[in-house]
Subunit: 352 residues, 2 copies
């Protein structure tokens, strides 16, 4: 029986236990220091209190203090499921406790902002672990439209498994696919990871449309604001293409599941949308952070704030044009200052 | 003062009266024989009973028996706003009553199925009117994410104006744009019109996901079916690209407002979605037509049924591959037989 060790017992990492179990893997689910209640609940009654489901019998829970045991040399695969904020911690743990060059699959999203460019997390991890394990370590990432709670009750779900090593990606696809979980492969690490990270960022903008509706007078015919949401959604797709082009990815990834598909599902609900709703109501980013969303992790906002300087430099050095990313620039401005988000309608959908 | 004559007083044609009026046009709104109540209401109290709004003072209503007056030789522009089903009637009227080669803008959607290909409605109209007015008649079409009721209360709305004649498209853009209505131009008649027509068709498929949820047991964690909807949405975008490629359009149109943007808004509500919901509940197309949606016009279904034979021929002659349009084929099968819609998940998102 193959063994997968999932690091991070949040909803997404834990939901992945379902396709793994159904394909015959033994699953070791390791919580971080933020997951103590979850791990305790699984240990005592096999119930995941955030997914609100009972996990398969083949899932065994481990506290973070037990990581070394969970990462024992019988582990066939490591799934990295911590949040973006937890990636440094996870990397330290891997360097300390990985005993051999075990293949790694990441579901953590995000881009690392270097001075002049944005680097994907799998490439950061790969580089960091190369010192100990050499450059041949197999690393892949999973992106695509996947709400964890739906995967955890085996609803139809499609994802993209991206790796520089296509035979590894193909093997993972064969090992994970079930009658409800439909992974597909890609070799476009940059394009897929830009989409995976920036879909959260752009979902904030789409959420703006629905919040804005709440603060204007109700129309005679009770019209909503879906035209505006669609216009922003489509501008977001255009700007994902601009960013992907600028950073050397393939635009096919943008209309794939990691791009359009995941943006679609991310706009249906979640914290990024909720931040957008609040900006639409006329609050500034700081007012939202000090009010209705105090303490919440909002990955799209964190990404935007981390990437803002790099994007500015890319414009200065000519890799990106201002004209091709008006929505990105308005959103970055709203996330970095105390002014409301203003939609630059006239600049939308102009030829790049 | 410029004069526009809008033929068809349904919601979409009538909503266009707002940007026209706001840009100084005098608007003549002509009902078809289906619009008698609407025209009576506008004539007596300027109120449009389907849009539920009061029309601007510059809008004057005409019954279809008054079309010749409305199309008098002072008309600067004709907007064709009848439904797809009404296009033959409208064409007959134009041939009979148009006095001079007046520029035409179409908001009617649809494709005309010739034996081996699908032809755009503007090209059909252009060909039909060439006999009387020569080949230089200016024709454009408007596509993009526009819910009429929202445009009629001046919510932010973006559209694409497509024409073989770019100077005409540019002029229309300059003439229509307001601070809430944001048209952009395209010269890709095929790509834009395929998107405009097929987004209705694919919205049926996305609607399936939400209906399906209703007929399966509620999950332990009350999970919805958004992953499935996103997977279908993204497959729809891929297949719009396949159809556009096969028919000689530009794939840029698919990620533009007529494609991804309009598909997004069409999936939020409307009759195509509703048909999809019913198919998801397990009803066959015939059961829906004889039950919950008896008598409704469902443009996506009508298009699919009209285009099915042409699509079959395109596969036979090698213009299209089956492998590139699994969702289209499943949906066509469900629309033409008495079997339920089955999602071919395994065939989704395979390399074309």
């Amino acid at each position: 029986m193959k063994i997968v060790t999932i690091i991070g017992a949040g909803v997404m990492g834990s939901a992945m236990a379902f396709p793994f179990s159904d394909r015959g893997y033994k699953v070791r689910l390791v919580g971080t220091h933020l997951d103590s209640e979850i791990i305790a609940s699984i240990k005592t009654k096999q119930f995941h209190p955030k997914l609100n489901v009972t996990l398969p019998a083949s899932v065994q829970a481990y506290a973070y203090s037990e990581l070394a045991v969970a990462l024992d040399d019988d582990t066939d695969l490591i799934l990295l499921g911590v949040s973006s904020a937890g990636i440094s911690w996870a990397l330290d743990q891997l360097i300390q406790f990985m005993k051999q060059p075990t293949p790694i699959v990441m579901i953590t999203k995000g881009m690392y902002a270097e001075l002049n460019s944005l680097v994907t997390l799998p490439d950061v991890i790969s580089k960091s672990l190369a010192e100990k394990f050499g450059s041949g370590l197999k690393i892949a990432a999973i992106a695509g439209p996947c709400i964890a709670g739906e995967l955890a009750v085996r609803r139809p779900t499609g994802t993209v498994i991206v790796s520089h090593d296509q035979s590894f990606a193909n093997q993972l696809c064969r090992d994970f696919e079930t009658n409800y979980y439909h992974p597909r492969t890609s070799d476009d690490m940059i394009g897929v990871e830009i989409c995976a990270a920036f879909k959260n960022f752009f979902a904030i903008a789409v959420g703006w449309a629905h919040g804005y509706l709440e603060q204007i007078p109700t129309a005679e015919n009770k019209a909503k604001n879906n035209n505006a949401a669609a216009l922003i959604f489509d501008q977001a797709v255009r700007e994902l293409i601009s960013l992907t082009n600028a950073l050397g990815g393939q635009i096919e990834s943008v209309w794939g599941m990691a791009g359009v598909g995941d943006l679609y599902v991310t706009c249906q609900a979640g914290r990024n949308s909720k931040l957008g709703n609040n900006l639409g109501r006329g609050l500034t980013y700081n007012q939202v952070r000090e009010g209705p969303m105090m303490g919440d992790t909002i990955e799209g906002a964190d990404l935007g704030r981390a990437a803002a300087h790099t994007i500015k430099l890319m414009i200065e050095n000519g890799t990106l044009t201002k004209r091709s990313i008006p929505l990105t620039l308005s959103l970055l401005s709203a996330l970095s200052t105390e002014t409301p988000l203003v939609m630059p309608w006239k600049d939308f959908h102009q030829t790049n």
